[in-house]
């Protein structure tokens, strides 16, 4: 997944100010995150065999890193909820001079929590920031833990599973236990996901694509017992977006035939797909098929304009993968799934209908749209 590009997108979108509010958001974000890649951070240049549990923790040599969980949940009477919980680490300075103050920090953290309540047509998204100091935010490997103040994901002592997920804000809250049904899958070429022609413009990327989720979702004062299926992405690297990329469209879909589909399209400024777009199909046994830019055809079916920010997003899609004889129609549970935060993007729970080799399939998942 290409979320690291978020940083670059912020800079790109600042060129097309929709709105005064967006301009302020952008101003905040660029100032917060900085504009260029500073000297001294490691770059992803070679393949990597992921080592667990070590690789679940931080890779502080690299500038950017995140832990990204999305999922579709169901309460009684088939009431649907979607959720997103993400932790971004951002390296502020590659030089680590020892300092006296306990507040001294070289890493900043940003967290996003979003809950979609399809039945009530409601979407709530909140963010928080903290420095990595005074144990306010950070990671540890054994037992695995990543936290930002009192939002956290933590694992079991030996293996990370089952993973506990806990995040609360004024209006919504999540308390889930996740168990993986498939092993981790490495994307790209040997765990290296190349984002552009430049050397080092790449990331290490692995995912758990099918997680059983159980627990509670809270909306205002009410808590709901829920169960469903989630997806976790892990990615780190030090890179900036190529200048010709305007944004991307990312899909992480769990299909009824026990396959998963992940694809990101890097969109160029003239609206074309970059050749560095790519993805994976994960088979029921956990094996992975690589997808290149030429393997997947995306077509927006419907657009939605955010009344809050004025941005227009393609929220319904048709996805064709000729080599798999598969065509999928992806529709949002709710159009209104824009995260109008310091970094603005659309990330929403989706339902899937389609045909594969003449058989109809269904599914659900998440889509991320940036640079609109």
């Amino acid at each position: 997944m290409n979320r690291f590009l978020i940083l670059a997108t912020i800079i790109l979108t600042s060129c097309s100010e929709h709105h005064e509010q967006i301009a302020t958001q952008i101003e905040n974000a660029t100032e917060f995150l900085g504009e260029s890649v500073p000297e001294g951070f490691a770059r992803v240049t070679s393949q990597r065999i992921f080592q667990f549990p070590e690789d679940h923790g931080s890779h502080e040599d690299y500038q950017n890193e995140w832990w990204y969980i999305t999922g579709n949940l169901e309460a009684s009477q088939q009431r649907h909820f979607g959720f997103e919980l993400t932790f971004f680490r951002y390296g502020l300075n590659a030089n680590t001079t020892p300092r006296k103050s306990e507040w001294a920090a070289n890493h900043a953290w940003m967290g996003h929590l979003a809950v979609t309540d399809s039945q009530n047509n409601e979407f709530v998204a909140v963010e928080r920031f903290s420095r990595q100091a005074l144990k306010l935010a950070g990671t540890q490997t054994t037992p695995f833990k990543v936290w930002l103040e009192d939002w956290f994901i933590y694992g079991n002592k030996d293996n990370i599973w089952p993973l506990s997920v806990n995040a609360n804000s004024e209006r919504v809250g999540l308390n889930l236990t996740l168990n993986s049904k498939k092993p981790a899958v490495s994307h790209g070429d040997g765990g290296v996901d190349q984002k552009g022609p430049e050397k080092g413009n790449a990331s290490h990327y692995y995912s758990f694509t099918r997680l059983d989720a159980k627990g509670t979702v809270r909306i205002d004062e009410r808590s709901y017992q829920v169960s469903g299926s989630a997806w976790m992405d892990r990615e780190w690297g030090t890179s900036s977006l190529s200048p010709d990329i305007a944004g991307w469209d990312w899909f992480g879909l769990q299909l009824s035939d026990e396959r998963e589909f992940m694809y990101y399209r890097l969109r160029t400024n003239d609206g074309q797909s970059s050749p560095y777009s790519g993805g994976s199909i994960i088979l029921p046994d956990g094996e992975r098929l690589n997808l290149n830019a030429s393997d997947v055809f995306l077509e927006p079916l419907k657009y939605w304009t955010s009344p809050e920010t004025g941005a227009t997003y393609p929220t319904s899609w048709q996805i064709s993968i000729p080599q798999e004889e598969m065509t999928l129609t992806v529709n949002p549970y709710l159009d209104k799934q824009e995260l109008n935060l310091t970094v603005r993007y659309w990330e929403g729970a989706m339902k899937v209908n389609g045909i594969r080799k003449g058989q109809s399939i269904t599914g659900q998942g998440y889509t991320e749209l940036t640079g609109y």
Partner: protein
């Protein structure tokens, strides 16, 4: 017929352009003063809000240490243990420039990542050049106020030397902070650093406070945790007392501006009634021709509406201009004096202009209603008789004088039975003005009668006619005199209040500042016992007073504690309400004294208990009395130093008063003290004279706007009288012609005209003296006490009184000049042709 009426009305005004212009300008000025003050107040209020939100952001609460600073770990616990969502750490501390050790600056240490939730950090930083990752992660980096950068000729990435205590430290400038505003001493914006950098700069391991955004239940939860050594304060309460002062100040200004508008209303009433009176004959004829009452009413009201609308529009435009200059004054006063920080003006809302316009037109219409009804009720046959009109006017005037009695009673009841409400105080004041206004026409008549013999002796028939003319044309002169009297009384009343206030402050300063030199510092542990002993040992020093000033958060806002060991000349207090031997009992640690404004605001009486956050938790202290205090710091508590030390475990001192021997060589002693102070550059040296001078200049600054309003009210009054008197005299054309025909020479006519206008001016001036004094009494003993909690005594200085009478006389003499010249050059024949 309607067209005819309109043509007649238009002709009437076109023939009297002077009358029309003066009326329009007078009303416009009244509206302008009101709109100007309203706009300035609003702009100032919004500017405060903007500044407050820049500084406090969306902070709802703050956690502050009751005695010491806050440990880092409490901040973490808030997030991780207590589930607080929005918390931002703050270090606020002072430094001085290494290159200019007198220049003190504030350093604000913050967590930029948390600022996005609180202060909208980007608004602090102009442009996008500031590299926040660098600010957070690179030691010794800071953002400087823009003005300081240019003042010191610094560029980005330059180093700057700061003195922390007496140790010089270097910081690197990596960006600028937008100045909130500038004062004479330079930027008020702080130097901004990351919280880690600030801790390293000040070599501390704690933070000053934690800013919070809490809803009510979260605040309750946090309070119930009963965290040790910290106090949760409401961010709004923190400045509550200051807000109250600023609000009171603005209410005062609004009331003054309403007074200006009131004079404007008199003016329109005078103009309209005069315009009706002048046309009684025309109206009578029109009525005889079959024009009905409603048509006349409509025409007269339409006239008023048109004149009112034009004048008000002009007034709103003028008010807008006026606001530009007033807002600076309002901001300076409320900003410098009450908030100790300057703020920049904000653009006012369009609604205020609309409000001003509606108010102007509505008051014009209301003022014109009586004359319009009068016009409508003109009976065809009576209209011709001027004598009958004047008789009925006299009757009305007498009745009005009677009505003023119950109104005065109502005012007394209102003022007597309310003790705290500022609004009721103002209503009372306005009722008193109303009652006096109603008395004035009759008083004018009586006055004219009284002076008639004297005038006759001095000027012969002209003098006698002048005096009689006043009573005889009461329908014209009554309202004009009333308007002028109120305006002049306002000028006198405010003048007396300000001069009494200034004298009280001056006396208070002389009484309070018993020492000759005051030394103060914001640094810690500068005045050790041995240092003070050394100071006492200097030749010519007869003793010292030592003081610890601290600010403590309480539920009613921040208060200042002044813990003191008095010097050889005692405490210098002027007590207001006290237990017997209050000072002795305070010295023997039985309790505390509170400042007068604090006692007034919180209704504290001797014997009451006041809870204060001490190092040993919340403790109740007995109030032994209250003392006069014109400081605007929100409230001061005075206690003995030993009592303070018992409860706060704090041995530090930050103020020393030095008493000099009057017989020794003063210069020599002072220079020795200066030398002694060289070791401690953070100590501020101020002589008593300097403090007194400074305080009074702040006082004058504060009342500058009052002075401006006083002058404006005077100007409105001047114009009002000028236009009214001129109209009266011009209208007398025929009378003058008759007198000339009867044999009076031009010189006699001149004396008659001039002495009549002067007489009216003198009457207004004289009536204004008692009314002005009553207004001053109400302003001093009711309004000021209710606004600020300050008591003072009325001092009847002659300057404001003389100024008022002179203003009235000048206006009336000037107003008399043109009619006099006209009367002298008068050609009799045409005026009497149709007789």
């Amino acid at each position: 017929m309607n067209t005819l009426l309109c043509v007649a009305a238009t002709r009437f005004y076109l023939k009297r352009p002077w009358q029309l212009c003066l009326a329009i300008f007078g009303i416009a000025l009244g509206v302008a003063v009101y709109v100007g003050v309203d706009l300035a107040n609003d702009s100032a209020r919004r500017a405060f809000n903007v500044t407050a939100s820049l500084i406090n952001g969306s902070t709802t609460h703050q956690l502050v240490g009751t005695a010491n600073d806050i440990p880092n770990s409490l901040y973490r616990d808030l997030h991780l243990k207590y589930g607080v969502r929005f918390a931002a750490p703050v270090i606020e501390d002072g430094v001085r420039l290494a290159s200019n050790t007198r220049r003190e600056l504030t350093v604000l240490g913050i967590d930029p990542l948390k600022e996005t939730e609180f202060r909208g950090f980007s608004s602090f930083i102009p442009g996008s050049e500031t590299n926040l990752p660098q600010l957070i992660s690179e030691p010794g980096t800071a953002l400087l106020p823009e003005s300081l950068m240019s003042e010191l000729g610094l560029e980005r990435d330059d180093e700057l030397g700061l003195l922390v205590g007496n140790i010089e430290k270097k910081i690197r400038v990596i960006g600028t902070v937008r100045d909130i505003s500038l004062t004479a001493e330079g930027a008020t914006a702080p130097i901004i650093m990351d919280i880690a950098t600030a801790q390293e700069l000040f070599n501390r391991t704690t933070i000053s406070r934690i800013d919070l955004i809490l809803n009510d239940s979260e605040a309750e939860d946090l309070t119930s945790l009963d965290l040790p050594n910290v106090l949760l304060t409401d961010a709004n309460d923190r400045n509550a007392s200051f807000d109250e002062l600023a609000r009171a100040f603005q209410t005062n200004l609004t009331a003054l501006s309403l007074l200006a508008l009131l004079v404007g209303v008199f003016l329109i009433y005078a103009t309209m009634s005069f315009a009706v009176v002048q046309r009684r004959k025309t109206f009578g004829v029109l009525r005889a021709l079959g024009v009905d009452r409603n048509q006349l009413l409509l025409v007269t009201l339409s006239e008023a509406l048109i004149i009112g609308a034009i004048a008000t529009l002009l007034g709103v435009l003028l008010g807008h201009q006026l606001a530009n200059s007033l807002v600076e004054l309002v901001l300076q006063t409320t900003g410098d004096f009450y908030f100790r920080s300057n703020v920049a003006p904000a653009t006012p809302s369009i609604l205020l202009y609309i409000k001003g316009f509606i108010l102007g037109v509505a008051t014009t219409l209301a003022a014109a209603a009586a004359p319009a009804l009068d016009a409508a009720h003109t009976m065809p046959q009576t209209a011709i008789s001027r004598a009958k009109l004047e008789r009925s006017t006299r009757k009305i005037a007498d009745r009005a004088a009677l009505i003023s009695v119950p109104i005065s009673l109502a005012a007394l009841v209102l003022l007597g039975f309310s003790t705290k409400s500022l609004y009721l105080g103002f209503i009372g004041l306005f009722l008193v003005i109303a009652a006096s206004t109603l008395l004035i026409p009759t008083a004018t008549r009586v006055f004219a009668k009284l002076v008639e013999p004297a005038l006759e002796r001095s000027f012969g028939i002209s003098g006698s006619l002048a005096a009689r003319g006043i009573s005889a044309s009461l329908s014209r002169t009554g309202v004009a005199t009333a308007a002028l009297t109120v305006a002049v009384a306002t000028v006198i009343g405010i003048g007396l209040m300000v001069s009494s206030f200034r004298i009280s402050v001056d006396e208070w300063l002389s009484g309070t500042l018993t020492a000759d030199i005051y030394l103060s510092t914001e640094s810690e542990n500068v005045f050790s016992n041995s240092r003070i002993e050394e100071l006492n040992a200097i030749q010519g020093v007869i003793g010292t007073s030592i003081t610890r000033f601290i600010r403590v958060p309480t539920e009613q806002g921040e208060l200042t504690i002044r813990a003191q060991r008095a010097g050889p000349l005692g405490w210098g207090l002027s007590l207001i309400e006290e237990f017997p031997d209050a000072i002795e009992r305070m010295e023997s640690n039985e309790g505390i004294l509170v400042s007068e404004p604090l006692a007034f605001r919180q209704g504290l009486e001797p014997g009451d208990k006041l809870p204060l956050p001490t190092k040993q938790g919340k403790e109740e202290f007995t109030i032994l009395g209250s003392f006069k205090d014109y400081n605007t710091n929100g409230g001061t508590i005075l206690m003995s130093l030993s009592l303070y030390r018992t409860y706060w475990n704090d041995e530090d001192i930050n103020g020393v008063g030095v008493y000099l021997d009057t017989n020794s060589d003063r210069e020599n002693t002072i220079s020795e003290i200066r030398t002694f102070l060289e070791e401690t550059p953070s100590v501020r040296y101020r002589s008593t004279d300097f403090i007194q001078e400074q305080s009074l200049s702040i006082f004058d600054q504060t009342f500058k706007i009052t002075e401006v309003l006083r002058v404006l009210a005077g100007l409105v009054a001047f114009l009002g009288l000028f236009s009214a008197l001129m109209s009266i005299e011009i209208e007398k054309t025929r009378e003058v012609a008759t007198l000339r025909a009867m044999g009076l020479d031009p010189r006699q006519i001149g004396i008659l005209t001039l002495s009549q206008t002067s007489l009216l001016g003198l009457a207004s001036g004289l009536f204004a003296i008692p009314l002005g004094i009553i207004m001053a009494i109400l302003l001093i003993y009711v309004i000021n006490v209710r606004s600020f909690g300050w008591s003072m005594s009325l001092v009847l200085s002659s300057q404001p009184l003389l100024f008022g009478v002179l203003l009235a006389l000048t206006a009336s003499i000037l107003a008399g000049i043109y009619p006099t010249v006209r009367a002298i050059k008068f050609n009799v024949a045409p005026q009497l042709r149709d007789e």
